[in-house]
Amino acid sequence: MMTKIAFVRKKEIPPSAPPITEVGLIGWLRQNLFSSWLNSILTVLSVYFIVIMLWDFIPWAYGGHWNTKSLRECLDLDPDVACFSVLTARWKQLLFGLYPAEEYWRPTLTFIFLLLAIVPILFPKFFRFFWFSIIYPGLAVWLLWGGSFWSISIVYIGLTLGALFFLTLIRRYLKNYMIAAILAFLFTAVFFLFISSPLVGLLNVILPISLPFVESLKMGGFTLSLIVGVTGIVASFPIGILLALGRQSNLPVIKMICVGFIEFIRGVPLITLLFVASVLLNYFLPPGTNFDIVLRVVIMVTLFSAAYMAEVIRGGLAGLPLGQHEASASLGLTYWQSQRLIIMPQALKISIPGIVNTFIGLFKDTTLVSIISLRDPVGLASTIRADQKWNGIYWELYVAIGLMFFIFCWGMSQYSQYLERKLKTDK
């Protein structure tokens, strides 16, 4: 008896194409924008919001005037569009403040050199150019403020001689680092106190290289923001590390001093510290001293962000397992060796996001110097408005200034994300 099988499939059916609602553009839209009624409402609202924003903004910005003489002229032409002429007329001021016009090449060159100087630090591939990053600070000071070339380079000469003295002592004569350091310090101090000024005088006579001097109050605009911001960032990092180590230290006196400093600085607003710099600092210094206002501001901003940096790095140090300290101690490494080789590389890696956030915060905080009447971009905005021609102009200036800050800060945060990805050793 034969059972009759009507049909047996011999070949596998080829898989059918997914429904059109699940793939391609429609599928993406359904999954990402209209997955539920709540999501659909949110999508519609967001699109509506974006459209009305752009509806107002694009014609305003796109049709803007760039070449009028005053705000009045703009309003006569078309009151509904932007009057970017203020930027055309005053962009130099926004970038350089009151810096003498014939010397604009100096801040520009400083800025270009700045970009070159950070490359070796940011990208390890170019680390062989690190020497440029080291000479850059002196070069920048000389270019911006001017004066004799030798009075800046003598600082480098002195420090190099001090370092050489230290190394020779260690290699040839002494075992003890601390005594060698103290001797080298004394040597450098003697050099700067007694030898440096005659030497500078001599060099000035032999080979006079100098630039016209520009006083600090002339600095302004983004040049000032960058001076304060970059110096603060560079200087606050090592101070922050030292403060963090001091706070974790088991030497009570050092710990107490560091904790007191950090808590005091973090407890008061930066504005009050800047006021101390501009009003009170003269009380604390010997009668008759009066040093540069920009330098005072830079010192205060540096101390301020160093305290924040210290807390960020302390967080990183606390995040390390105790075993790391113990293991490095059991290998016989000294305190500084274990910090340099074992602890800090790991702690700093954990705290990259916090460190960069502090940097960004510091750069944004440079706008506060406008409150002690230095001419940073925000301060310049009101100076420009005080001019009769541009009285009543707001958005064009604010948009331009905001955009500049946004580019710098956003760039920094993007770099920190790149660094985090690059340094990720696990997974």
Partner: protein
């Protein structure tokens, strides 16, 4: 036979102070301490010399002298005849007011933005990250002056509301007027019997708290969950509402109205206050949003999967599993952001709001010439606030730490 001997005891040498680890720490501390004290005394000595040169002394008596200046926004009675101390107090209260209102707005906005940032909806997530990046990467001072410009330059003057066909109209059924001199809200007026209403409202809140506790206990004991939210809302609102109508509406609203060239009555919020509060709140909310996002993402995915496999619904997973764990991560940085907002409120000077820096550290300082004393008091105030808040954070960390072993 030789008996084991102790190593020859080294006699103390002076160089051991620097080379021997037993003494090195001590001598380092002594050196640091000496340097620290020397710098400190140097500064104090300089200050004394400078003060002597300027014929000044250190005294806080100026706090009891007549201030002689007006403060346009005050929470306590103050006239130009009041003392400098009173002016400082008015300023302190103004600072705290901005901080308080700003923190509330920033928290609500930040929670909202932070959660939406995690939404699966692509366009919403992108919009929220644009909000966060925009506010975080532009200085807060710029935001403050921008919001202030928006409020003063692009809102109608009170006289635009005048006439039969006014250029501007009030919002929300003629109740709120946004003008370039500030925003006017209706003010509640309490008639006789209103206090009973307040009492009733207070009691209902207490009752709802007890109800929530009861519902939680019920849930833990029996596993049944009551619709807690709606019942507690009803408990809070209904009795007061019934009493309100039963007593013949003892609370009424006093609407602002135009008189001459300005609005009268109602609550007047000045543009300086609004601009400062809103800008600080927006700015801080961007940071809070990131904290909320990080907190939620830090709860491992296994937690929500485990909860789902137990059969919990998505909203229950959020409220019972993820949020309690995320809050432990969120709260400490949240509070330190409140502290940042409070400190940033010292930027009030940019819009002319009279906070403590504007009164004590501004006009009082300039009028009396007591820079040292005013700045000391000012810093003391901010330090006290921040130490208070950071001790609260420490308390929170201690009491909510996960107890391992």
């Amino acid at each position: 036979m030789s008996s084991p001997t102790l190593p020859p005891s080294e006699s103390f040498k002076f160089s051991m102070l620097l080379s021997d680890t037993r003494y090195r720490g001590m001598s380092l501390q002594v050196i640091t301490f000496i340097i620290f004290m020397a710098v400190f005394f140097w500064l104090v000595d300089n200050t004394i010399k400078n003060l002597a040169l300027l014929d000044k002394d250190v005294s806080f008596n100026f706090l009891w002298l007549r201030a002689g200046y007006d403060i346009n926004q005050r929470l306590i009675p103050y006239t130009s005849d009041s003392t400098h101390g009173m002016a400082a107090l008015v300023g302190i209260l103004n600072t705290l007011l901005v901080a308080f209102v700003g923190c509330i707005i920033a928290t609500v906005l930040g929670l909202f933005v932070g959660i939406l940032r995690l939404s699966k909806n692509w366009i919403v997530a992108k919009l929220m990250s644009a909000y966060i990046e925009g506010f975080r990467n532009v200085p807060v001072l710029l935001w403050i002056v921008m919001v202030f410009a928006l409020l003063t330059e692009f809102t109608p003057a009170p006289r635009a509301f005048k006439g039969a066909e006014p250029e501007a109209t009030m919002l929300f059924f003629e109740s709120i007027a946004i003008t370039n001199r500030g925003t006017y809200f209706p003010a509640p007026v309490l008639a006789e019997g209103a206090y009973w209403l307040l009492l009733c409202f207070g009691l209902s809140i207490v009752a709802s708290i007890y109800f929530i506790r009861y519902a939680n206990k019920q849930k833990i004991d029996t596993g049944k969950s009551l619709p807690t939210f709606w019942i507690s809302v009803a408990v809070i609102i209904l009795p007061t509402l019934i009493l309100f109508f039963a007593m013949g509406q003892p609370v009424s609203l006093e609407y602002p109205y135009l008189k001459g060239f300005n609005f009268k009555d109602g609550i007047h919020l000045r543009n300086s206050f609004l601009a400062l509060t809103l800008a600080l709140a927006f700015y801080t909310s961007a940071f809070i949003a990131e904290i909320v996002r990080a907190g939620i993402m830090a709860v491992s995915k296994g937690q929500s999967e485990a909860a789902a496999s137990l059969g919990l619904r998505p909203n229950k997973i959020m409220s019972l599993i993820i949020l309690p764990q995320a809050l432990r991560i969120i709260v400490p940085p949240l509070i330190s952001n409140y502290l940042n907002l409070t400190k940033n409120s010292s930027l009030a000077i940019a819009v002319g709001y009279m906070d403590v820096r504007g009164t004590l550290g501004g006009i009082t300082l300039n009028q009396t010439g007591r820079e040292l004393e005013s700045m000391l008091l000012l810093m003391g105030f901010y330090l006290a606030v921040s130490l208070l808040i950071s001790s609260f954070i420490n308390y929170f960390n201690r009491s909510f730490q996960i107890v391992v072993r």
